[in-house]
């Protein structure tokens, strides 16, 4: 290392930076790409932190033994898929929502995770099913009737277009089934630690290698997010003037390349660290099952709900 001397100190660096900070002007422009990325990463980290806080709550579902909870919620998802009892489905959705609130899951999160995707995807998908062309039945609402509508010389549409009671009923069944299933899955994910959840999945037959990959991904995705946060800060701290579009694109390209390189380096080191600790391709998740009174109560609630699901309008769920 070279010892520096005052003689070598650049002349321009001895000149005082006399630049005065201007009065800032309010701007209505949206944040630039760095700010947007920073906000997205911060939001992701905040969501994870929020999830962790929810898991740590001392609510009912958080206290139920994870294996019992997994089986119980899985059974309820199956009951929602098989039941022909609409009242049960509505009730199950209400119970799910009630448990979500009791577990400390915010209404907004529950809506975003459950009802928004249900309405956006399932709702739109089942929409054609409510008309008589797809589901014939008793007309609830007549859109048009007795009109001959021909498209070209070969295609002619039916003379009536009605919304049928059977179609609406079927659509509601699909929507409520999807919402209940999504709600139950959200409850499971939000009230169980990720590390425990993956261990349960191994017990229920998911290959250990997949679970190892999931576990490591969960661990390292946050490491990379924090690193990316630092990268963005590093870039931001050095932006001392206007940045051209090509410079932005070049930086994004450079950053992606850097992260690929880092990921490769990390994966090699992690693999070596695992091997040094005896890893031979097998993954041994550790878990300990201890049933308590709360687990028995939870099991009883699930059985009661299933009993009610089985005795619906059309008899037994399987309607054999």
């Amino acid at each position: 290392m070279q010892q520096m001397t005052q003689e070598k100190f650049p002349q321009w660096l001895q000149v005082k930076n006399e630049l005065l900070l201007p009065e800032y002007k309010r701007t209505w422009l949206s944040n630039d790409y760095l700010e947007k990325m920073l906000n997205k990463i911060n939001n992701a980290l905040a969501t994870d932190s929020d999830s962790f806080n929810t898991v740590c709550n001392r609510a009912i579902l958080q206290q139920v033994e994870p294996h019992t909870k997994f089986i119980g919620l899985l059974v309820l998802i199956l009951s929602a898929a098989l039941t022909k009892n609409m009242l049960y489905l509505v009730g199950l959705n209400l119970v799910t929502f009630g448990f979500a609130l009791q577990s400390g899951i915010r209404c907004s999160i529950f809506f975003l995770r459950v009802w928004l995707p249900t309405i956006m995807f399932v709702g739109i998908t089942v929409l054609p099913g409510i008309i008589n062309w797809v589901t014939p039945g008793e007309a609830m609402c007549i859109v048009y009737s007795g009109i001959n509508c021909n498209i070209g010389s070969t295609i002619s549409l039916p003379t009536d277009l009605t919304i049928t009671r059977q179609g609406v009923q079927a659509a509601f069944f699909v929507i409520f089934r999807s919402a209940a299933s999504l709600g139950l899955v959200t409850l499971l994910i939000k009230t169980t630690r990720w590390s425990i959840l993956t261990k349960i999945l191994v017990k229920f037959g998911l290959p250990a290698t997949i679970v190892a990959v999931l576990d490591l991904t969960y661990r390292y995705i946050f490491l990379f997010m924090i690193l990316l946060l630092e990268y963005l800060m590093g870039r931001k701290s050095r932006l001392v003037g206007a940045e051209s579009q090509s410079a932005k694109i070049a930086w994004i390209g450079e950053t992606i390349a850097s992260f690929f390189r880092l990921a490769r380096e990390y994966s090699q080191e992690i693999d070596q660290a695992m091997q040094s600790r005896g890893y031979n391709g097998e993954y041994y998740p550790v878990s300990n099952i201890k049933l308590r009174l709360i687990d028995t109560c939870f099991g009883l609630v699930v059985i009661l709900l299933c009993y009610y699901a089985a005795g619906g309008n059309n008899g037994w769920i399987f309607s054999i």
């Binding site: 070279q2 010892q3 701290s237 050095r238």
Partner: protein, 253 residues
């Protein structure tokens, strides 16, 4: 070398993800050309405080003033204001990798001067001066990711200094450097201070305190300032050093 005020912080608090407190009720003044050292245990908020001083993140509450202007997210959304502030404040990150993003060392050092609107020849002159000054001429055309930790640190400093900022913030500058590189780092920081640059550096190594600090600010595990005094007074106060986890009670009896 204290002069007029560069920074004034009043009752500043900051928390990560709105739930993990990082700084609590910080009051602080930093004068021009002062060498201020932030000391404290891991996770006490040293780096967070430095990022607030650099205008990279913004306090949840309280007032941050730099060069007589309030630093807020609104102020920083004005590009003219933000770029002017960035020209006044240089930040050397602990992890040099995060701030080196060009394809060669020369490009890296020229990036700042070119971005602030200097001509290519002026920017190149600055880069060459700094390459000469830091003794990394043999690395000029290398890609930053091929360099060693010490070399990356030198490039990072040259890249930040190239815009001639008034304030230089160093986050754990000696971390991961061999003794010779540490010595180079200390001499460089002191030389920059002699030229009138305000130095704010964070560390948890006490051995560099006498050489690098005019004043010490100690942050505690409660994320508050627990001491703000001259180095010799802080170093003599065993209770403060113990409170801030800066010495090992069983070792430093």
């Amino acid at each position: 070398m204290a002069g007029s005020l560069v920074y004034e912080l009043e009752n500043v608090s900051y928390s990560y993800q709105h739930s993990k407190p990082a700084l609590e009720e910080i009051d602080l003044k930093i004068a021009l050309a002062e060498r201020v050292m932030l000391l404290g245990p891991n996770g006490c908020g040293k780096s967070t405080l430095q990022k607030i001083l650099a205008g990279l993140i913004f306090a949840d509450s309280g007032k941050v003033t730099a060069f007589d202007r309030k630093i807020t997210s609104k102020a920083m959304s004005d590009k003219r204001f933000a770029t002017a502030l960035r020209q006044k404040i240089g930040f050397v990150f602990q992890n040099s990798d995060v701030q080196l993003f060009c394809t060669s060392v020369l490009d890296e050092i020229m990036f700042g001067p070119l971005t602030m609107g200097l001509s290519f020849s002026e920017a190149k002159k600055r880069a060459e001066d700094l390459i000469d000054y830091t003794g990394i001429g043999y690395l000029a055309n290398c890609s930053p990711h091929h360099l060693s930790g010490g070399e990356k640190k030198k490039v990072a400093i040259a890249a930040v200094v190239a815009t001639n900022p008034e304030v230089l913030i160093f986050d754990e500058p000696t971390n991961g450097l061999d003794p010779k590189s540490q010595r180079w780092m200390i001499d460089t920081i002191n030389e920059l201070n002699k030229q009138g640059k305000t130095i704010i550096l964070a560390t948890h190594y006490l051995e560099f305190v006498p050489e690098l600090a005019d004043r010490i600010i100690v942050l505690g595990e409660n994320h508050r300032i627990i001491a703000n005094d001259l180095p010799e007074r802080i170093l003599k106060n065993r209770n403060i050093l113990l409170d801030a986890n800066l010495i090992d009670p069983s070792y430093n009896k």
